[in-house]
């Protein structure tokens, strides 16, 4: 470990810079959320893929299957809920049947309730509350592989035209993606960890990489506060790039360990 650059009295040594970074996220986050001004946000290609997938299903008269993951309330699942909302709205408007498998973990009962609220809300907002059918959002048990088996059962029985699998799916994702390919559905997925991402990129028709999913979710939600989130994330990404570039340049030209000492502080 490099020598410390500074210490804050009372703060554990070696943890001050981390604390400053976290506080920075809090301050920037609250500032951008309060400001309420919509930042520019690039339209992620996934959004077009989703529209295409839903459109294709509508044309073929097949249902759309959209899932938001098996995990509890995390970064990926919250983003997936925005995407689910958008898909539900499109389905309601185009009279396409929407299937949403839920469950998969002990934390999924809480997410399930939110998902039901969202889908119901979108059908109501589109003026077709009677089209909402709770049987199309079955609870497939709180165990991961039973959920997977149920999910695959839905794929085989209902033969959806599109499968939009977003949010926090783990090892069952490959299982679902290959099966969905077998039944001829257009498959859109998102990877939540690196090896999963590489495998899903091969298995699915379209994949949202790294944090494209939260970006797409924020874009579709049009909620200024979610968009502000993306802004802060970008600022930190740029900050990390700057730290790397400056750190490497300074260290290798002058031998000064400044940035690493700052990071270790």
């Amino acid at each position: 470990m490099a020598e410390l650059l500074f210490e804050i009295p009372g703060v554990e040594s070696g943890r001050a810079f981390g604390l400053i970074l976290i506080l920075g996220i809090f301050i920037l986050g609250i500032y951008y959320m309060r400001r309420g001004k919509l930042p520019y946000i690039r339209r992620v290609a996934a959004i077009d893929a989703i529209s295409e997938a839903v459109g294709r299903s509508t044309e073929m008269g097949k249902p759309v299957l959209c899932s938001y993951g098996t995990g509890g309330f995390g970064y990926a699942v919250i983003a997936a809920m925005s995407i689910l909302g958008h898909v539900a709205r499109t389905c309601a408007e185009t009279d396409t049947r929407l299937l949403v498998p839920t469950g998969g973990s002990h934390t999924s009962y809480l997410t399930r309730e939110l998902a039901i609220d969202i889908v119901k809300g979108q059908y109501t907002a589109a003026g077709k509350p009677e089209m909402y059918n709770e049987d199309d959002m079955p609870f497939l048990s709180g165990e991961q592989y039973s959920f997977t088996a149920g999910y695959i059962g839905m794929l085989v029985r209902d033969r959806p035209g599109a499968v939009i699998m977003t949010g926090g799916h783990s090892s069952e994702a490959m299982n679902i993606a290959e099966m969905s390919n077998l039944v001829g559905a257009l498959t859109i997925t998102s990877g939540t960890y690196v090896s999963n991402m590489a495998a899903l990129a091969c298995a699915s028709d379209y994949i949202m990489l790294v944090d494209e999913q939260p970006a797409a979710g924020a874009y579709l939600s049009k909620d200024p506060e979610q968009l502000a989130t993306i802004r802060v994330v970008d600022i930190y990404k740029v900050l990390s790039l700057l730290l790397i570039v400056v750190g490497l340049l300074v260290l290798n030209t002058t031998g000064n360990d400044f940035i690493r000492r700052l990071l270790a502080s």
């Binding site: 960890y193 090896s195 999963n196 990129a201 028709d205 379209y206």
Partner: protein, 290 residues
């Protein structure tokens, strides 16, 4: 060539993938019926892992963390057996913490079956040389509690017997642990790195499944872990290095054939793609890779 040639190309591009499944099944089982004994090489990664093991001295205490379900054990088995044989042979003291409920089945499979004879040979006994603490590290909080006040947070072993009077009396905090050996199927228990490695500078070696290797390489490069044994392949290399042949080396024939089958199918797929898909149909196969 004529029509038949075209059909062969079409077959290469669009064959039913279940034939591939069947072939994989056969190619994995065959070499087990009739071992071929193909040679293997040892990677630098495994050599470094062994160097880490060699820093331990007799009587050192290792936190032996098994954060794997039973299925992951199938992949980690060669590495787990080889590493534990090294520990046993060199008189290292172990306290085993399970990070997953299915770990219970592992105790049976590993300690009571695979290396039972080996433990008897070196007179490696429960209580004196190793202790099983059971599902003691379910989360970060438990790990922190163990790292800051070991005696306060751990009182009994997995069967509810007191651990007083054993070698664990020597541990007050994480600083008294000489090494962490983590056998894991994922990030494992992040608490090990966060609360023991980062706080006390304890070296940590890891035996990781192939799926989660990218993350482990990253941690290895950042110095958060000091040794890495990669999947079954790493385990069999360690078997070779410590001269204790086991299941890993037997698995290597099937391993080689499985890999070659995929490579062959990739070649066939490409011939089919250029010979048929590209000419006949504009519709691409279902994949993001374009």
């Amino acid at each position: 060539m004529g029509k038949e040639g075209v059909n062969l190309l079409k077959l290469m591009a669009t064959y039913d993938k279940r034939w591939g499944y069947l072939l994989l099944f056969i190619l994995v089982l065959l070499p087990m019926l009739q071992p071929i004994g193909m040679p293997i090489s040892v990677s630098e990664l495994t050599k470094d892992y062994l160097k880490q093991l060699e820093t331990l001295e007799e009587g050192d205490i290792v936190l032996d963390s098994w954060s794997t379900e039973y299925s992951g054990y199938m992949e980690l088995k060669p590495g787990m057996i080889a590493t534990h044989k090294y520990f046993i042979k060199n008189g290292i003291k172990l306290f085993i913490c399970l990070g997953h409920p299915e770990g219970l089945a592992l105790v049976d499979a590993l300690l009571n079956e695979e290396i039972k004879g080996y433990m008897e040979k070196y007179d490696y006994t429960y209580g004196e040389d190793y202790i099983i603490l059971g599902f003691a590290l379910p989360n970060q909080a438990a790990t922190l509690a163990m790292a800051t006040d070991f005696q306060g947070s751990v009182k009994v072993d997995w069967k509810g017997d007191s651990i007083k009077g054993t070698f664990l009396d020597r541990i007050e905090t994480g600083a008294d642990i000489d090494m962490i050996a983590d056998f894991t199927t994922g990030a494992g228990n992040p608490g090990l790195i966060n609360h023991i490695v980062l706080t006390f500078g304890t070296p940590m070696i890891q035996n990781q499944i192939g799926v989660s290797l990218p993350g482990s390489f990253m941690n290895l490069d950042a110095g958060l872990i000091t040794g890495l044994l990669a999947s079954t392949r790493g385990g069999s290399e360690l078997e070779l290095l410590i001269k204790e042949p086991g299941p890993g080396l037997i698995a290597m024939d099937a391993f080689t054939l499985g890999h070659y089958l995929l490579i062959i199918l990739i070649v066939i797929g490409n011939i089919g793609f250029f010979g048929w898909t590209k000419k006949v149909s504009e519709k691409m196969e279902s994949t993001t890779i374009r």
